[in-house]
């Protein structure tokens, strides 16, 4: 809902600003979302030369300019810029800005040592990766954007299909709410491959929020949220082109263009094509190391703005052809080759609208309506899995400011999912419609303390009425340190085959218990962020955090009890995930920045009556990134090293063990060099420089029809060193 809020606040700003026009100057006051003055904000005429800065009370006086238009621009580091049309007939003199996590790539803020911005103001612990951070690696798609990130891990779910899962706070992707522009996305069928559905060059930024989130976004985020903001037509270059090629013979092309049709209406078109159809079998086991993929991805968005309304509409279409299994060489002279094929068609449609409701109380209304259609036809050896999912999501939020200390939000939502699955020709249908209501209250005390308490009630077909309470606290004792705490509940419905169909690339028999309950967990966390000055300009950034997720209900994936089956059952006992992370960043000298981080993860669940470490979950992660930019920013060098802790493997067959009981820590190293020119840049880099790969990631690959064949025992990289190069070109908008 942050996006809606941005619209609304922009609207408020547009319609609230009133200036004294009698003399040769105008005057006003710039405020934040909580009506607190913003000292030092920049105010200047659009297309003019005069500008000024607000005083300690947020006030400003700006000399009139004959040549300028009747518009001013208000800008403040860490907040969204706003363009305001002056209405000389109204007497209210205030401009409200909303916090932005979208600082310019080159911009500087107190909290920003690298291109990752740790929000100081947000009450939820949030980390922003902006376009500068995303360009430090190839970042061909969302799943490849977290190479330099200490908090988020992305790994293959199995060694055959290329399905990927994200991990946050030690728990896999299904517990992390994925959003695009603050709209829940990639749920159910799209979850195994959804990380490949957002091309990197389309992204303006990614926000990673840890722990529970606001109740306005729903009840599903159990361990955190990852939100992707696409480029916007009002702030993007006129045209950008990105071309990419790698030693694995993967080629990609991306193009996007922004068009301003008039003062109110603008649009943006995005196109993406990738072709990764070269066979690789470095392990020599006769199976492809990664699937051959072709993808076409198209997106069109519209932005419309008037004095009383801001509206956005977007439509997206994705086609993906994913082929894997045995190599051509292995298929030759083989009457019964093992092949995997997954063809996906996906369409998405959304509209987001912000409407000014009541000028006097800063009240506003935000409305989101989004829908998607996902069609997947898949075959894993002889097994076929065809599925369709439709989704309709609506969210309506009313917000009002009672006074500068108290803000209230309330609203309603509806989420509907239609599943139609066909396994071996047998059809299953599952529909789920969940209407809900929510309310959230925020209290702010003297810039030092913020409390945000929310509760929502939803009605589920099986659970009937359930309540989701959440509380966030933030305390700033002084300028350079602040603390956060959060506590709340989350829940979700599992879609076993939709979310785990990659497990069909295995001879394991899949057993799913009847009457699986919805998953439900409490999440608590505390964090401390400090920015310790070490001189006039430099600061050390230190972030420490601890989060604990305690499951009430969970669907346990038991791969331990029998090496020939996977059993999905309800939790009977304890299950928890505990993570501690410390991160330190420092600019040693101009342009040279280092980030070091260490995370300890303890994830245990009751499997077949025993509380055990969750298999295939690394116990720690150590990350070190070094980045150097030359004084003119024409060259950039980035190196990232990781050590991923060992972990437990699912129990092998005791009489005939085909894999080890444990896997050891393993290193990963990546590097990139970027050379910038005025309108274009080139980059060359390498992933997995040390060429480390997991040996025998597919169990009994030589006998895919045998009872021991299993591609799901994957804990490390399955593809070795990759060298890549790319080109970015842009045509800037005229000022």
């Amino acid at each position: 809902m942050r996006e809606i809020k941005r619209f609304i606040i922009s609207l408020l700003a547009t319609s609230h600003i009133v200036f004294v026009f009698g003399g040769a100057s105008i005057q006003g006051v710039v405020l934040d979302e909580h009506n607190q003055p913003l000292p030092g904000a920049e105010v200047y005429w659009m297309n003019g030369t005069e500008g000024t800065i607000t005083d300690n009370n947020g006030h400003f006086i700006l000399e009139k300019e004959e040549s300028s238009q009747n518009k001013i621009i208000v800008s403040y580091a860490g907040y969204e810029d706003d363009t305001v049309t002056i209405n000389p007939s109204i007497a209210t003199q205030k401009i409200k800005l909303t916090e932005s996590l979208q600082l310019d790539e080159i911009g500087v803020s107190a909290q920003k040592l690298t291109n990752v911005l740790n929000s100081r103001i947000a009450v939820v612990q949030t980390q922003q990766m902006n376009s500068g951070e995303l360009r430090r690696a190839a970042c061909c798609n969302l799943g490849e954007s977290f190479v330099n990130n200490p908090s988020v891990d992305v790994s293959y779910s199995d060694a055959a299909t290329g399905a990927k899962q994200i991990r946050l706070l030690g728990l896999s992707g299904s517990y992390v709410q994925m959003l695009t522009e603050k709209i829940p996305n990639f749920r159910g069928l799209a979850s195994p491959y959804g990380l490949n559905f957002i091309p990197g060059p389309w992204m303006e930024s990614i926000q990673v929020s840890k722990g529970i989130s606001s109740v306005t976004d729903g009840y599903e985020a159990l361990t955190g949220q990852i939100n992707v903001e696409y480029k916007k037509p009002i702030s993007s270059d006129k045209l950008t082109v990105n071309l990419f090629g790698s030693s694995a013979r993967r080629i990609e092309g991306n193009i996007d263009g922004a068009f301003k049709l008039n003062d109110n209406l603008s649009t943006m078109l995005f196109g993406h094509y990738e072709n990764d159809t070269k066979e690789h079998d470095m392990g020599g086991d006769g199976f492809l190391d990664q699937p051959k993929v072709q993808q076409v991805n198209l997106f069109n968005r519209w932005y419309y703005r008037t004095e009383k309304l801001i509206s956005q509409v977007g439509a997206k279409y994705i086609y993906e052809d994913r082929q894997s299994g045995q190599t051509e060489a292995a298929c030759r002279n083989n009457e019964n080759p093992y092949n995997i094929g997954i063809i996906t068609h996906r369409g998405e449609l959304f509209t987001k609208n912000g409407i000014l409701y009541d000028d006097d109380r800063n009240s506003s209304l935000g409305i989101i309506v989004a829908g998607s259609f996902h069609d997947q036809k898949a075959s894993f050896g002889r097994a076929e899995y065809n599925a369709r999912q439709g989704n309709l999501y609506t969210n309506i939020i009313y917000e009002t400011t009672i006074n500068k200390r108290h803000t209230l939000k309330g609203g309603g939502s509806f989420n509907g999912d239609w599943f139609n699955e066909s396994i071996e020709g047998i059809e299953y249908q599952n529909n789920e419609f969940v209407p809900g209501m929510f309310a959230e209250y925020s209290f702010k005390w003297h810039e030092k303390f913020v409390a945000m308490a929310g509760v929502r009630g939803d009605y589920h077909p099986t659970d009937k009425f359930f309540v989701t309470p959440r509380l966030h606290l933030k305390y700033d004792p002084c300028e350079w340190v602040y603390f956060r705490g959060s506590l709340g509940k989350g829940s979700r419905t599992t879609h076993i085959l939709g979310e785990n169909n990659y497990l069909m690339a295995s001879s394991r028999k899949i057993i799913i218990d009847d009457q699986l309950k919805r998953e439900e967990a409490w999440n608590y966390g505390v964090s401390a962020n400090a920015f310790i000055p070490t001189g006039k300009k430099r600061k050390i950034s230190v972030i420490t955090e601890w989060y604990y997720t305690h499951f009430i209900n969970q669907v346990i994936v038991d791969m331990d009890s029998d090496p020939h089956l996977v059993h999905f059952s309800n939790l009977d006992g304890r299950s928890y995930a505990s993570t501690f992370q410390a991160e330190i960043s420092y600019e040693f000298f101009r342009g040279f920045t280092m980030t070091a981080a260490h995370r300890i993860t303890d994830v245990k669940q009751t499997i077949n009556g025993r509380l055990r470490e969750k298999p295939l979950t690394s116990r720690f992660k150590t990350l070190l990134t070094l980045s150097y930019q030359t004084p003119l920013k024409k060259w950039q060098f980035d190196v990232t090293g990781q050590l991923n802790g060992g972990g437990r493997m699912p129990d092998p067959d005791p009489t005939q063990p085909l894999w080890e009981k444990e896997y050891k820590p393993f290193p990963m190293l990546s590097a990139q060099i970027t050379k910038r020119f005025k309108t274009w840049s080139i980059y060359i880099g390498s992933e997995n420089l040390l060429n480390f790969t997991q040996k025998n990631p597919i169990i009994e690959a030589n006998d895919p029809w045998g009872e021991n064949f299993d591609a799901s025992m994957v804990w490390g990289p399955v593809h070795g060193r990759k060298i890549y190069a790319g080109l970015r070109w842009r045509l800037k908008q005229k000022d």
């Binding site: 500008g51 621009i73 310019d104 911009g107 070094l626 004084p631």
Partner: protein, 99 residues
């Protein structure tokens, strides 16, 4: 891996120290007062002035509205730099100049 990190640090130090060995007499540093208003102005200046012929260093101080440019005397001069700022829409004033 240790070697790689060492190599990285050496490259960074070489790049940052290269100016010091380039011969001080061949370069000049000038500080301009520039009517910048926001981070967008800063980005615009950094993206353009950095690519002016002869410019070897650029530091933008948005708060003080100052831009310090180091350049090769043989390749450009203050007037050419002022013209480059003017092309971007900024009338600049020289505040300080030193060899």
């Amino acid at each position: 891996m240790k070697r790689l990190f060492q190599a990285f640090a050496i490259v960074a130090l070489l790049f940052s120290a290269s100016d010091a060995f380039a011969g001080k007499n061949s370069k000049e540093t000038v500080t301009f007062q520039v009517p910048m208003k926001c981070h967008k102005c800063q980005a615009k200046i950094e993206e353009n002035i950095a690519f002016e012929k002869g410019v070897t260093d650029l530091q933008v101080n948005l708060e003080e509205k100052k831009v310090t440019v180091t350049y090769k005397k043989k390749a450009t001069d203050v007037e050419k730099l002022k013209a480059a700022f003017q092309k971007l829409g900024y009338e600049v004033v020289v505040e300080e100049k030193k060899d």
